[in-house]
Every structure is written in C-alpha cells, then in structure tokens.
C-alpha cells in the first residue's frame, strides 16, 4: 500500500532506526512499510499515526479498488 510514512518521518527528522525503536519493531519493518511492500497491522498503524502526528488516512493510501463504497 502506498503511503507517506517516509515523508512524515523525514519531516520530523527521524531516521528509520529511530522510528523503528520507538515503534518497538525492527528497522527492516520500517523499510518495508515505507517501500509499500508490507502493510502494518492495525495496532502498528495506530502507533505510527501517533508517533508521526498524522491520521492513518493521511499516512496510507489504499488501492483504488479498496476505496469505500458509497452507501447510497
């Protein structure tokens, strides 16, 4: 899933290792998330959101076919 994690992290002046340490996961996990190869679990996504100061909806861009369906 595309995301803006790398941009937000860089804006806060954090390295991947620092972000990983604060999240309690490996640096490789942060790398894979930023490359869009690995989607974080919901708890991890919430921790990312809290650390980076951005809502999950702003951090992650779901694929077009996952966009919410109009209930009407």
């Amino acid at each position: 899933m595309d995301n803006h994690v790398r941009a937000r992290r860089a804006a806060l002046g954090l390295t991947q290792a620092q972000l990983a340490e604060r999240l309690g996961v490996s640096r490789q996990t942060v790398i894979s998330i930023e490359r869009g190869r690995f989607d974080p679990s919901l708890p991890l996504a919430f921790r990312l959101s809290a650390l980076l100061g951005a809502p999950i909806e702003e951090l992650f861009v779901p694929p077009d076919d996952d966009v919410a369906v109009d209930p009407t």
Binding site: E21, V25, S26, Q28, T29, S32
Partner: protein, 146 residues
Amino acid sequence: MLHRALRTAALTAALTAVVIVVLGAALGVAATGSDGGALARGARGALVGLLVAAVAGVHLLVRTLFARVPESSGPELAAGSVESEVFLRAGTQAFPDAVSVLLLVALVAALAGGDLARWLPAAGLVVVLLDFALRARAHWTQLVAG
C-alpha cells in the same frame, strides 16, 4: 535483536542438554538387563540423552522463532514486525502440507515396516522443514527483499 533471542534460547538448550545427557548416562549405568558393562551402558544412556536434548533444543528454537517463549524478545520477534509476519505466513501455509506428509509417512511406515519405517519419519521431517524454509524465503522476497 533476533540473535539475542536465539542466543538466549541456545544457552537454555545447552544447559538442558547437559542435564539430560548426565541424567541419561546415570540411568544407563543404573540399568540392569542390558548388554555390556557399566561404561557401555552409560555411554548408550548418554547418547540417548543427547538425542533427547537435540529434540528439546529444536523444539525450543522453533518456539522462539514463533515468539512462543519468554526468550522471544527483540524487535524482529515483536508483534507487527515484518519478520514475524514472514514466519506466520510461512508456518500457516506449511501446516496443511505438514499434516499431509505426516499422514503419508504414518500410512507407508505402517504398511511397509522394516528399514523404510525407520527412516521415513526423518525423510518426512526434512520435507516439512524444506517446505517451510522455501515458503519463508518466498514471503521474505515479497515483503522485504524483492
């Protein structure tokens, strides 16, 4: 780190192995009705203890990798890490194949007997481990290294 968790598990396994080997040797010496003198019986007992310790060590290692023991510490084994996800996906996919292999081994061993029954379980274990390793590698490539 992952190596720290594995190092802790290895230390636990080593200490357990020493205890089991010594216990095996002592039981071997004390056993009556077996061939050979006390030394031979003790050596056989120690060998059995070593094999049991090896099994216990592998059990501990696998449980460590799947974060099922207190030694499973570190960011790589944390819930939500990509490494944990690789292990979980590979393990989940390998489980049905492992059941099929076990069933086949049990059936063939029961029907064939002899040397085939003796070595077939080991062959089945190799197949299961190889299956898991290949799946883990594929998921690692997909999630990390690709």
